[in-house]
């Protein structure tokens, strides 16, 4: 056994005599990032003030719920869905319409059902005939925006008075309700991934589609399930957006798919699938939100957040390459 290990290490060293041990790099970077972030947080005046923490926890929740959903898709080996942002916007609008008709319960069911179905339909196309996930989700973006425009004609919609939606804008034990939802979503995602057969099939399929198929996994069901959950979690993000901003239009969801995939990648979930977890994604979302909050506090305007997110994703993808080449 030791001999085998030695030969493997031997060939590695022969092929790249000057290369450091790449397997340690991600761990080292993770440690450096955490230390650097902590130092920067402490050094930023006002970072630990209550308003900042509360707004950080709220904004991370919208992105985080979408990101946990995206994690399932990424792990299943289908890279990402471009339609989750549009789905969040659509869910927000459906929620308001349904709340105005039948109250909060009906609204929640309608919004989650629409979001889950829209996403699951894409999952079915991807899983059943193995259509290209990127193209299917890009097509879905056009379809969702087009359909939404039939009903809304580019306008915003609002809650009518007396729906009692205000109680959902509160806090639970001092923590914004949105963040509690995010923690629940993360727990649910982690449960699905780690403790169910469906979750195991997701990892297997992401590692090797052919192996999963050979093992008798009904791959199309697993893919559809991943998209269904992604849609439901995203629907929850849409509902929270509608509640927080007291209204909705399709622009609310713009860009969340990119924030979400950034959180997934920063958390260390590999783009090729088969690795990752919901907890990692939560960590990734927190890191991005902390960096963005810090930039704001240090006087960078909002546009710098976009650039930094892009650069972070670039850096993370480069970093992942060391893990993926093994």
């Amino acid at each position: 056994m030791t001999g085998k290990g030695d030969t493997v290490r031997g060939t590695r060293e022969m092929s790249m005599p000057l290369a450091p041990d790449w397997r340690l790099l991600p761990t080292a970077v993770r440690a450096v990032v955490i230390v650097a972030l902590t130092v920067a947080c402490v050094a930023t005046p006002g970072f630990f003030s209550l308003p900042n923490i509360l707004s950080l926890l709220t904004t991370v929740s919208f992105m985080g719920c979408v990101a946990v959903g995206m994690t399932l898709i990424t792990i299943s080996g289908n890279i990402m869905s471009f339609s989750l942002g549009a789905t969040a916007g659509a869910a927000a609008m459906v929620f308001i319409v349904a709340v105005n008709i039948g109250g909060i319960g009906i609204g929640l069911i309608a919004a989650l059902a629409v979001a889950a179905l829209v996403s699951a339909a894409q999952g079915f196309a991807v899983g059943w005939v193995r259509a290209n996930p990127i193209i299917v989700s890009i097509a879905a973006v056009a379809l969702i925006y087009g359909t939404a425009e039939i009903f809304t004609r580019h306008s915003s919609i609002y809650f009518k008075p007396g729906t009692g939606i205000e109680i959902l804008r509160g806090k639970l034990g001092g923590v914004p309700l949105e963040f509690v939802v995010l923690l629940c979503v993360t727990a649910a995602g982690q449960f699905i991934l780690y403790l169910t057969r469906f979750g195991r099939n997701l990892y297997m399929m992401g590692s090797s589609f052919r192996a999963a198929e050979a093992a008798g996994v009904k791959t199309w069901r697993t893919v559809t399930g991943a998209y269904l959950w992604a849609g439901a979690f995203t629907g929850l993000a849409g509902v929270m957006l509608a509640i927080r901003y007291d209204g909705a239009n399709m622009d609310y969801g713009v860009g969340y798919e990119y924030d979400a995939i950034a959180a997934v990648l920063v958390g260390g979930t590999l783009m090729k699938g088969g690795h990752g977890s919901a907890l990692r994604t939560l960590a990734g979302a927190m890191i991005i939100a902390i960096v963005q909050a810090m930039l704001l506090l240090r006087g960078f305007r909002q546009e710098w957040q976009y650039l930094f997110t892009g650069l972070i994703v670039f850096a993370v993808i480069l970093l992942h390459s060391s893990g993926e080449r093994r």
Partner: protein, 325 residues
């Protein structure tokens, strides 16, 4: 095996083009809004908005990669051109193209050097370019004060063309000729079909990857710059809806998602289909969502039609039906 029309990538775009024209003519029957002299010009204007982006994206798809960053580059180049080209339009265009070229080369080199997939790298590129555009413009819409140039790029000449559509068509012609009559075309198809075999046969695959992503960056940058000139303004988020039509045009044009098929003229036909659709729907005064839904439906249909498991699933369904009976 029978060579059905579904499997002939060069025939499909022409059929769809004909179907679109027939359908729009039928809708417009007797009113002469679609079948008018203005339609070809507006069609070519729309073609100029998406054609080259689709060409760049399509070439990356032919080698089995995907350049997501075209969206970001489209917007960034527009902002750069408008901000640097007020006094000297050529300088603005040159700056935009230089950025597109540099970005494409850098992304290509990263993919080659670190053996990374293009989706990840160009996703990073996309987010970075969008961020750069926001930072450069300080999150605002930037006006382009040189109205003479703004009018000039859309000025019709020869009845049909403008500077923008002329440039697009000329580049398409050059690329189509290069693709058809030199080794480059065959090499690209070879890389897309079987990269390892192409490498063994002596194709410099790495150089092609870098070159094609550089070309894609230049195409997106040039289109974004010219479009922003013609709109007389640019904003960092303004041109973000180019990915849907560009991908749709490439796929409609017979570029297979699995790589190894397609040709520039096919992509041109695909872009023409979408341009006819958009300007035709405008001409018959259809509400704007019809175009979105039509484009999404087309893209989804083709994606499902290209699905590698489609035939197997249909056979399974047929078999189940037989046993049920």
């Amino acid at each position: 095996m029978k060579a059905s029309i579904r499997n002939d990538p060069h025939f499909r775009p022409l059929v769809i083009l004909a179907a679109c024209i027939v359908l729009l003519s039928a809708v417009d029957w007797g009113q002469w809004r679609f079948l008018s002299a203005a339609t070809p010009f507006s069609t070519l204007q729309t073609f100029a908005n998406i054609g080259l982006v689709a060409l760049g994206l399509g070439l990356t798809m032919m080698i089995r990669e995907f350049d997501l960053s075209v969206v970001g580059m489209f917007g960034l180049a527009g902002c750069v051109a408008v901000m640097t080209g007020a006094a000297h339009p050529w300088f603005g265009i040159a700056c935009a193209i230089a950025i597109g070229l540099a970005a494409g080369i850098i992304q290509g080199l990263i993919m080659v050097r670190f053996a990374l997939g293009s989706v990840g790298v160009t996703l990073g590129g996309l987010l970075t370019f969008v961020g750069l555009a926001h930072v450069l413009t300080e999150n605002r819409s930037v006006p382009y004060d040189n109205f003479r140039v703004a009018l000039l790029v859309n000025e019709p000449f020869a009845g049909l063309l403008s500077v923008r559509s002329g440039v697009s068509l000329a580049i398409f012609a050059v690329v189509a000729l290069t693709f058809g009559f030199t080794r480059l075309g065959r090499d690209i198809i070879a890389i897309g079909s079987d990269r390892r075999a192409a490498m063994i046969a002596g194709v410099n695959v790495d150089a092609f990857i870098v070159g094609i992503f550089a070309f894609s960056g230049v195409c997106a940058a040039a289109t974004g710059a010219l479009l922003s000139y013609s709109l007389a303004s640019a904003s960092p988020a303004g041109l973000s809806d180019v990915l849907v039509p560009a991908a749709a045009a490439a796929i409609l044009g017979g570029v297979s998602l699995g790589g190894g098929s397609g040709r520039p003229l096919g992509i041109a036909t695909g872009a023409l289909v979408l341009a006819v659709l958009r300007s035709g729907l405008n001409a018959v005064e259809a509400p704007p969502f019809v175009n979105d839904i039509a484009m999404g439906a087309i893209l989804l249909t083709v994606a499902i039609g290209d699905g590698p498991y489609l035939m197997r699933r249909l056979r399974q369904l047929a078999a189940r039906e037989r046993t049920d009976r």
